[in-house]
């Protein structure tokens, strides 16, 4: 786990994370309302500002925190793979190293 997350410059762009989230939420709400809503739903959104048609949204800090979570995921993957590579006396992280750490990594997130 990284010690000083605030000092890192490299992280995922919260806006990018937001766009990914919005896409997933849009896809899910479209799936949910597929049968009931007709194609002219978009025109009626303003008129029928019902709560169901209002999508989920996220506040800015939540997005920053999500970016941090994703950054930690990538950093952990690299660090763990690097440990394995080092133990094998390699200076480059290869697919076999990633394979070794993958099961535990996926369990940890």
């Amino acid at each position: 786990m990284s010690e000083h997350p605030m000092e890192k410059e490299n992280t995922f762009d919260p806006d990018l994370v937001h766009e990914i989230f919005k896409l997933v939420w849009k896809r899910k709400s479209a799936e949910r309302g597929k049968n009931e809503l007709s194609e002219n739903m978009e025109n009626e959104v303003e008129a029928s500002s019902s709560r169901r048609s209002r999508p989920t949204f996220a506040n800015a800090n939540a997005l920053k925190l999500s970016s941090e979570l994703l950054r930690v995921f990538v950093a952990e993957a690299i660090q763990r793979a690097a440990t394995i590579a080092e133990a094998e006396g390699s200076i480059k992280i290869e697919a076999t190293h990633l394979e070794r750490i993958l099961p535990q990594l996926l369990l940890d997130f």
């Binding site: 762009d13 990018l16 994370v17 194609e39 989920t56 995921f73 990538v74 993957a77 480059k92 290869e94």
Partner: protein, 139 residues
């Protein structure tokens, strides 16, 4: 006839959506590359390019799953907006991760204390006004 139109429209929509997803995935990969390379440099390691794109795809899948989780958590709390507690909750299986996110969350909160202070000041002023009103009503 209407059904046919609707079906075609949704198909076009789906294609557009896939294009957008691909674009996002590429932007996401660029971010992953810079993070991964910086991290590898710290360990004194090199990373082969296919490994990074593999990790990036994993992280993207993780992000999509995270989005679903966060939406469900927020809905369960009766909210329409996702907040930091939801994100921390999504990491509850891993104590270390949750603790790390919690400290990051506190750092973010510490960065913007002005809002709360303003709110407090305002409420204090409102209290005083209420007190004055009471006093005038009493006399």
């Amino acid at each position: 006839m209407e059904d046919l139109d609707g079906g075609m429209a949704s198909e076009v929509e789906r294609e557009e959506e896939e294009e957008v997803t691909d674009l996002l995935r590429d932007r996401f990969r660029l971010c992953t590359i810079s993070i991964a390379e910086a991290e590898a440099k710290q360990c004194g390691m090199e990373v082969s390019q296919p490994i990074i794109s593999c990790i990036s795809d994993l992280a993207f899948k993780f992000a999509e799953q995270l989005a679903k989780d966060l939406e469900l958590f927020a809905q369960h709390a009766g909210r329409k907006s996702v907040n930091m507690e939801d994100v921390i909750l999504s990491a509850h299986r891993n104590d270390h991760l949750a603790a790390s996110l919690r400290s990051f969350c506190n750092d973010l909160k510490a960065k913007e204390p002005t809002l709360e202070r303003k709110r407090k000041k305002k409420s204090r002023r409102e209290d005083r006004v209420a007190r004055d009103l009471l006093r005038t009503a009493g006399t």
